[in-house]
């Protein structure tokens, strides 16, 4: 017999937690080991109880469930729950993140649990192209990260993963190739200037001619320029003067 999955329910409303607990009982295969009404309590419980799944509501007074993500280990499966938050739903959809709508439908709940049981990480859907106002959801090694697309300064390739630099000069690693980034980021803003570099054209300060038909691209707030190779310089003639 398979072991029950250990779950924690995080929601500020007691009845909402009770409702989800009841639905989990109906579906079976899950052992609710804890509940939390605030994000800090949730963080503590996740660290001490080490659950397999966290059911995370998005709406908390004064904070958002998304904020918890960056504070918990990436080994925990998170299933988001929301009543009707258009922005959150959009974020889930573009990132192919699994989520449930309150009141949770038992059939949908069963499907989500089956997916986790079978070890698949996303809802089986392909992530969609991102808009400039969207957020991109990343899980690297043991961390969850949400980054606003508009706050990405540049992306550089590193072996089999990529490094994102934000406008606040924060650096984040991701399991994504340049090709995948190119396919998902909005084309009007993000320009590939090198085999291993994509930049956000909104934050270009100036472009300087460099040796052998290549260019140096200086970004706002970053002293070190990026190189634009001859090949990509020709392709981007129109975008970057």
């Amino acid at each position: 017999m398979a072991m029950d999955l250990k779950a924690i329910i995080i929601d500020d409303e007691e009845l909402a937690r009770a409702d989800l607990r009841r639905m989990l009982e109906r579906v079976g295969g899950v052992d609710v080991v804890g509940e939390a009404a605030t994000l800090s309590e949730a963080e503590r419980k996740i660290r001490s109880d080490n659950p397999d799944i966290v059911f995370l509501d998005i709406e908390f007074p004064g904070e958002s469930g998304f904020e918890l993500l960056e504070r918990i280990p990436g080994s925990v499966e998170v299933i988001f729950v929301t009543a009707y938050d258009k922005y959150a739903i959009r974020a889930f959809e573009v990132n192919a993140i699994d989520y449930l709508l309150k009141p949770v439908d038992p059939g949908r709940l069963r499907k989500s649990l089956e997916r986790i049981g079978s070890g698949r990480r996303n809802g089986g859907k392909e992530p969609a192209p991102l808009g400039y106002e969207d957020s991109v959801f990343l899980r690297f090694r043991d961390k969850y990260v949400f980054i606003k697309v508009s706050s990405i300064l540049a992306i550089t390739a590193e072996a089999d993963y990529s490094e994102i630099t934000t406008i606040a000069m924060k650096r984040v690693l991701a399991h994504k190739t340049m090709k995948e980034w190119e396919a998902r980021l909005p084309r009007r803003r993000f320009i590939r200037i090198h085999r291993s570099t994509i930049i956000n054209s909104d934050h270009v300060e100036r472009v300087e001619k460099w040796i052998n038909y290549s260019y140096r691209v200086f970004m706002k707030g970053r002293a070190e320029p990026f190189m634009m190779s001859k090949l990509y310089a020709r392709k981007n003639k129109n975008e970057l003067g």
Partner: protein, 358 residues
């Protein structure tokens, strides 16, 4: 920048675009006609003259256009409009005549053209010919203008109507406050003890969510529509118990076909409402879907009621049916069919949709 503002100006007035087309076509047509008339003895001189003649005419036409543009034809009685057209055309014809004569004189005095055009015309006669051409030109001009205005007007009304509907829907959505509703339903479900009540809350939530988000969508897989109709009917079954029976005869291949959102549910709601109104006996509803050999999707909702005098188009559900018909008209112009009819004692509401949108 400049390009943009020009584009905007052009988009601003539909008639302006058509006017240039009409103008070029009309004067070009006259030149061709005249050329054909002289085809036997065409020479450079005659060609120059014909082009000069109608070139000057097209200038007169443009002058008329500049004048007409200032005219608000909608606020002028038709008789007045006729008067203005005739008077201004005659006036323009004098300008035309004067232009032709002076250019002709200029050409002759400089020795470029030897042909005595002015001499061969009688001033009065020719301006009469010009007048007739310009009156015809102006007449067609206004016919075109009024017609385009009518079309524009209709488009504007339709746009306003759809905007109004969207705004209304948005307002309703704000009033309902979905966030509050779904959270409350969630709490409610936690509080109820009966499993039947729990199920009803689940179905109601599902139905409500689809109503709030889905009914404006134009492309929904039939499968989703069936699920929502099932939720709706499950709720009704809790209300009516034994008095409502539903049979589903769904062809699996049809589940993936794309239909306008809320199409099936409109039929189903109609069937429930009228089925119960027309008789007291238990209501039996059949939901059928099938794909014909030519790819046509046929969706049918059958009930054992009777088609009374009120077939339902004038009351609340009737508005739903009318709206749906309007949407189908837009999405499948001329290629769909929607019928409500009685056959062997049962009322059928049947929609057939082609494989592809027209």
């Amino acid at each position: 920048m400049e390009k943009k503002s020009i584009q905007r100006m052009w988009r601003g007035s539909n008639f302006e675009r058509v006017f240039w087309l009409y103008h070029v076509f009309w004067w070009g047509f006259l030149v061709c006609l005249e050329m054909l008339r002289h085809i036997e003895h065409i020479s450079t001189e005659t060609s120059v003259e014909i082009i000069l003649l109608y070139g000057a005419g097209s200038v007169a036409g443009l002058i008329l256009h500049v004048f007409f543009r200032k005219l608000d034809h909608r606020s002028i009685p038709l008789v007045w409009l006729f008067g203005i057209i005739i008077a201004s055309s005659i006036m323009a014809s004098y300008i035309w005549n004067a232009v032709v004569l002076s250019i002709d004189q200029l050409l002759r005095s400089s020795g470029i053209v030897g042909y005595d055009l002015a001499g061969s015309l009688r001033l009065f006669g020719f301006s009469f010919f010009y007048s007739v051409l310009l009156i015809t030109y102006s007449g067609l001009y206004f016919t075109l203008k009024i017609w385009i205005d009518l079309v524009d007007q209709r488009i504007k009304v339709e746009k306003a109507e759809s905007l109004r509907r969207q705004a209304q829907l948005q307002m309703l959505r704000y009033q309902i406050n979905p966030h509050f509703i779904f959270n409350s339903l969630c709490s409610l479900r936690a509080l109820v003890e009966s499993e039947k009540a729990e199920l009803m809350v689940t179905k109601l939530s599902e139905f409500l969510r689809y109503t709030l988000d889905g009914d404006q969508r134009d492309e929904v897989p039939l499968d989703e529509e069936i699920k929502v109709a099932t939720s709706y009917l499950d709720i009704e079954k809790v209300r009516f118990g034994e008095r409502l029976t539903v049979h589903y005869n769904i062809d699996d291949a049809s589940r993936e076909r794309i239909v306008p959102g809320f199409m099936l549910n409109t039929l189903v709601e109609n069937a429930v409402k009228h089925g119960f109104r027309m008789k007291d006996a238990p209501l039996v509803i059949d939901i059928n879907s099938d794909i014909r050999e030519d790819g046509t999707l046929v969706v049918e909702v059958v009930n054992n009621g009777r088609l009374g005098s009120g077939s339902g188009r004038e009351d609340g559900v009737g508005v739903g049916l009318c709206n749906m018909e309007k949407r189908l008209d837009v999405l499948y112009p001329g290629s769909y069919s929607f019928d409500i009819f009685e056959e062997s004692g049962r009322v059928h509401a049947r929609i057939s949709l082609p494989d592809h949108r027209g």
